[in-house]
């Protein structure tokens, strides 16, 4: 984990307009290493939009995001290399197997994929025997765990997780929470949307988005 180097995410004056509706305006936030930020608020308030903006997927209407004081739009920014974003969608092709998907994911990240390491991670996520099944044939919880396998396979300083607990059972939630705790303790950053009660005390900050009905 890249906890030894100073990593910090900063956003200034963010504004987001979706379907001609102003979701938020002049929003500033800063996340330090070893910290978790929970974005809270009622449905439709723009949690997912904010996360997508922070991940660099969609462009904010106004404002800028800095990763280690370099704008994430800057070509020199290491942000994409340091980021894992897991959204509502799986991010995996449903017509490929878990191994094929994860191998492709690692290649995209410049990692050299080894079948053995992928299988080990899948075993840890209780996906034994599911390695060569097409993702489309898996249950929702299994698909979710394949998507989350990215967190185990690829070291990254910042995780942006949109509703990471969706479709997971109690065992899976517990496993993911432990992984999140160890990530934060090692100096990583997590930005997430779901409130959780962690067994271990980790620094969690909450950013409450207010409905901005105009």
């Amino acid at each position: 984990m890249s906890g030894d180097k100073l990593t910090q995410l900063k956003a200034q004056e963010l504004a987001c307009i979706k379907r001609d509706k102003l979701l938020f305006n002049d929003l500033a936030l800063q996340v330090e290493p070893g910290e978790m930020l929970v974005v809270a608020g009622p449905n439709g308030v723009g949690k997912t939009s904010l996360l997508r903006i922070l991940a660099g997927l969609s462009a904010p209407e106004d404002g800028a995001i800095f990763w280690n004081d370099v704008s994430i739009d800057n070509i020199d920014s290491t942000f994409r290399q340091d980021l894992i974003y897991i959204g509502h969608k799986l991010g995996f092709s449903i017509n490929l197997t878990a191994i094929e998907n994860l191998r492709f994911w690692m290649q995209q990240r410049g990692q050299v994929p080894s079948e053995q390491s992928i299988i080990e991670v899948l075993d840890e996520l209780a996906l034994v025997g599911m390695e060569d099944v097409l993702v489309r044939q898996m249950s929702a919880g299994q698909q979710r765990r394949v998507a989350l396998a990215r967190l185990w396979l690829t070291p990254a300083a910042i995780w942006i997780l949109d509703e990471p607990l969706t479709a997971l059972d109690k065992w899976g939630i517990n496993l993911l929470q432990q992984k999140m705790i160890s990530h934060v303790q090692a100096g990583g950053i997590i930005i997430s949307t779901s409130h959780q009660h962690f067994a271990v005390d980790i620094p969690v900050r909450t950013l409450a988005l207010e409905p901005n009905w105009l």
């Binding site: 997508r52 660099g56 799986l90 995996f92 995209q108 097409l134």
Partner: protein, 221 residues
């Protein structure tokens, strides 16, 4: 380059996972060509006259059908947003996707083109010119088409909108390609038209990947 090849391999695998669905646009093209003699009569002289135009229009229509699927599944399952976030170069990746798409859905059309030429009673010279224009023209179609497909990936409606966007853009290609075949039928050299299509293709290879990459980003907004 590893980015390019890993995307290439992935898309190649995906194409063959889907029950040879990629052959459907080619069959569609064949059917469209079959409809014309039934519509205008089987007279060999007439068919020879209108043949090149028919084949090109059929190829344009079938490529529209095929292109529609270029980013659809990736958009739906979220692969596309992950690809946007990868450290690798997005234009390169777009180029790889278009290349695979051309190989699996348009190359069969080229292989089938002798049959089309026979159906429409083209002479050997005309067929040769037609093949040259198809080889240079269809990649151009895929590259330009990919921009519009990426732009409309997020929309639930696709088909007809894509046609509205793309068919006007394809007009120059159609004009030069059919004029090349006509020149060939008259025994006039058609290198001029080929050179123009070739130039357009080179231009497209250089520029469209960036446009497609931008369009993919727009689709994620």
């Amino acid at each position: 380059m590893t980015v390019f090849w890993s995307v290439f391999r992935r898309d190649w695998l995906l194409a063959f996972r889907q029950n040879a669905e990629f052959l459907q646009p080619v069959l569609f093209c064949l059917l469209v060509v079959t409809m014309f003699p039934l519509g205008i009569g089987p007279s060999p002289a007439t068919l020879q006259k209108v043949g090149p135009g028919i084949i090109w229009v059929a190829a344009l229509l079938s490529s529209l059908l095929a292109l529609e699927k270029l980013f659809k599944q990736d958009f739906l399952d979220g692969s596309l947003e992950q690809l946007v976030l990868t450290p690798g170069s997005l234009p390169m990746l777009a180029l790889a996707k278009v290349l695979v798409h051309w190989l699996v859905s348009t190359l069969p059309l080229l292989i089938l083109s002798p049959v089309l030429a026979l159906f429409l009673n083209l002479t050997w010279d005309m067929y040769w010119a037609l093949l040259c224009t198809l080889v240079l023209g269809t990649p151009l179609m895929s590259l330009i088409g990919a921009i519009a497909v990426a732009l409309t990936a997020g929309l639930n409606k696709g088909g007809t909108l894509l046609g509205l966007l793309l068919l006007p853009v394809y007009i120059p290609l159609l004009i030069f390609a059919t004029s090349a075949v006509e020149s060939a039928s008259l025994g006039i050299p058609f290198t001029g038209q080929l050179a123009i299509i070739g130039a357009m293709l080179l231009f497209a290879i250089a520029l469209t990947p960036y446009a497609v990459a931008y369009a993919i980003k727009v689709s994620q907004n």
